[in-house]
């Protein structure tokens, strides 16, 4: 065993010992801090009922053809992108979810990846409702 490996074992052993020693005095915070952080980012835990929707919503390949179902003032692709992840875009996605609902039938006719944009809109709105529920 090399000196480097010995040093690594020593460091890990110390860390484990420290953890065991302080364990009886510290309360396990559980998932609460994590959920609070998600809420701050305008995200909720994925509810069980969302999984079937995710299988069609998650097919998007980002080709942008859904823009054809938009109008000069609405951009379905921008809403889909906004719904993707970035917390600062979440409010835009909620405000514009109706754009996806309205364009869903047109997008279904052209989308090469058969993305369920009405499923995306439902996920956005369900997420927003869950955040508004204390």
């Amino acid at each position: 065993m090399s000196f480097k490996q010995l040093k690594a074992l020593w460091t890990m052993g110390l860390a484990l010992l420290r953890k065991l020693l302080i364990l009886p005095f510290v309360r396990n915070p559980g998932a609460r801090p994590w959920l609070v952080r998600m809420r701050q980012e305008r995200l909720t835990a994925t509810p069980a009922g969302a999984w079937p929707r995710l299988s069609t919503a998650g097919r998007c390949i980002g080709c942008g053809l859904c823009e054809l179902a938009g109008t000069p003032t609405t951009s379905p692709f921008a809403v889909i992108l906004a719904a993707g992840r970035r917390p600062e875009d979440a409010d835009l996605a909620v405000a514009e979810a109706h754009v996806l609902m309205r364009a869903a039938a047109d997008i279904a006719r052209i989308c090469p990846a058969r993305v369920g944009v009405d499923d995306i809109a439902t996920l956005i709105l369900d997420n927003a409702r869950a955040l508004d529920t204390p």
Partner: protein, 432 residues
């Protein structure tokens, strides 16, 4: 009751439908949504195979690239069909495409298999080899030395097209391909058409907007041999818009090949849809399930619960993205449950070792998953014909990666033609 039912409305399915219809039989085309054609760059990739060739024997002409694929890739559709059949089918398929596009007003450059690939400028600043292209992309071949100074038009607000990067990238690629660095410079054009390609292309369906762009380009045309512009010159009225633009500007105006979203792809898709309707091919809805009897397919059931019977069937449903191939519990062709083959061979089981390589820089075999076919493009199951009257066309055929030989359009043209011929021959055989 139809004579031939084609399942899948991409380029391969469309060519198959038009080929069969051209022989006077009753043809139906089942489509669910748009295929990869709508994502087209505007170029027609037939073959470019340097990755397959020893450096000393670098192919030059498109036919030599095809020959190279035939020689080195036995599972590739060109390899399956053989050189002679491939070249003939490419020419026939292209003739159908040319005619279909012409009827919609779209022109395509000739397909000369004995010529070298053109070097076309892309919106990402790369020089892409292509055997042919929509005429709006023609006029500047960067695979050859180009005289004069070309302007790369930066439209205001067009964040999707960075003229400076495009000019730099093209100069770099062109130097590598032709040995001469072309004079390319970004030119700021006082025209604000929109922030995404589809919105800009729509705006340029309005002829007053085209006039504004034309005047703005003309103001910057001093000393310029021609302009490379983003591929946004109209959707519905593209032909008219481009003609007017070229008239007013007074120097060649060439659309760069598109990335996504692609207005040229949308034009191509719409032109093909119109051609199919004009030819008298009946459009039916999405196919939900096939109905088979023994070794024959007799009908399909649509998602509207209609039963559509036909004598022969062409399967042109693509791979994973379009839903032609799926992997739920097993990797299978989605409609008939046919087994799949990758470029590594038949997937005997679904263990990960059959679909991955040790080297991360090589192609991903899973992306080559599709049905194995015989020389007449009939899908096979365990070395035997799956069905007597079922033929495959396009990317649903497995065992090859189009991105390593730039051949997706050529495969669609060749296999669409041969599959339709097979379907017609099966009809004749059944009648006899």
């Amino acid at each position: 009751m139809f004579d031939v039912l084609v399942i899948g409305g991409g380029l391969a399915g469309t060519v198959a439908a038009l080929t069969a219809r051209g022989r006077g039989v009753r043809v139906a085309l089942a489509t669910r949504s748009w295929g990869a054609t709508a994502l087209s760059t505007g170029a027609l990739d037939v073959a470019y195979s340097p990755a397959l060739s020893p450096a000393a024997q670098m192919p030059r002409t498109v036919a030599e690239h095809v020959m190279d694929i035939v020689a080195h890739r036995p599972r590739h559709p060109y390899g399956v069909l053989g050189l002679e059949v491939t070249l003939r089918a490419l020419r026939q398929g292209f003739a159908h495409l040319e005619k279909a596009l012409a009827a919609a007003g779209l022109a395509v450059t000739p397909l000369d298999l004995e010529a070298e690939n053109r070097g076309l400028p892309s919106s990402l600043g790369t020089v892409l080899p292509a055997a042919a292209c929509l005429s709006s992309h023609a006029g500047l071949d960067l695979a050859k030395p180009q005289p004069g100074r070309w302007g790369v038009a930066q439209l205001q607000g067009a964040a999707f097209f960075d003229a400076r990067r495009v000019a730099l990238g093209l100069a770099h690629d062109a130097l590598a391909q032709s040995g001469v660095s072309p004079a390319l410079e970004p030119v700021l054009v006082a025209f604000d058409g929109g922030s995404n390609p589809i919105a800009t292309a729509r705006a340029l369906d309005d002829m007053a907007t085209v006039e504004r762009l034309a005047r703005a380009l003309r103001e910057r045309a001093d000393g310029i041999a021609g302009f490379i512009v983003p591929p946004v010159i109209g959707l519905e009225r593209h032909v008219e818009a481009l003609r007017r633009l070229r008239e007013v500007v007074g120097v060649p105006v060439v659309e760069a090949l598109a990335h996504l979203p692609s207005p040229p792809g949308v034009r191509l898709q719409r032109a093909l849809e119109a051609a199919v309707k004009r030819a008298g091919v009946e459009l039916v809805g999405d196919v939900a399930a096939p109905i088979t009897e023994g070794d024959r397919v007799v009908a399909v059931r649509t998602s509207d619960a209609l039963e559509i019977r036909a004598g022969s069937f062409v399967l042109a449903t693509g791979r994973f993205v379009s839903g032609g191939v799926t992997w739920t519990d097993r990797c299978r062709e989605a409609l008939f449950g046919l087994p799949v083959v990758t470029e590594l061979g038949v997937m005997e089981d679904d263990s990960p070792s059959t679909v991955v390589r040790e080297s991360p820089v090589e192609s991903h075999p899973l992306l080559t998953a599709g049905v194995p076919v015989g020389r007449d493009l009939r899908p096979q199951r365990e070395g035997h014909l799956a069905f007597e009257n079922l033929f495959a066309a396009g990317m649903v055929i497995g065992g090859f990666a189009s991105r390593y030989a730039l051949c997706a359009d050529g495969v669609a043209l060749a296999t669409g033609t041969v599959a339709a011929e097979g379907a017609l021959a099966a009809l004749d055989a059944e009648a006899a």
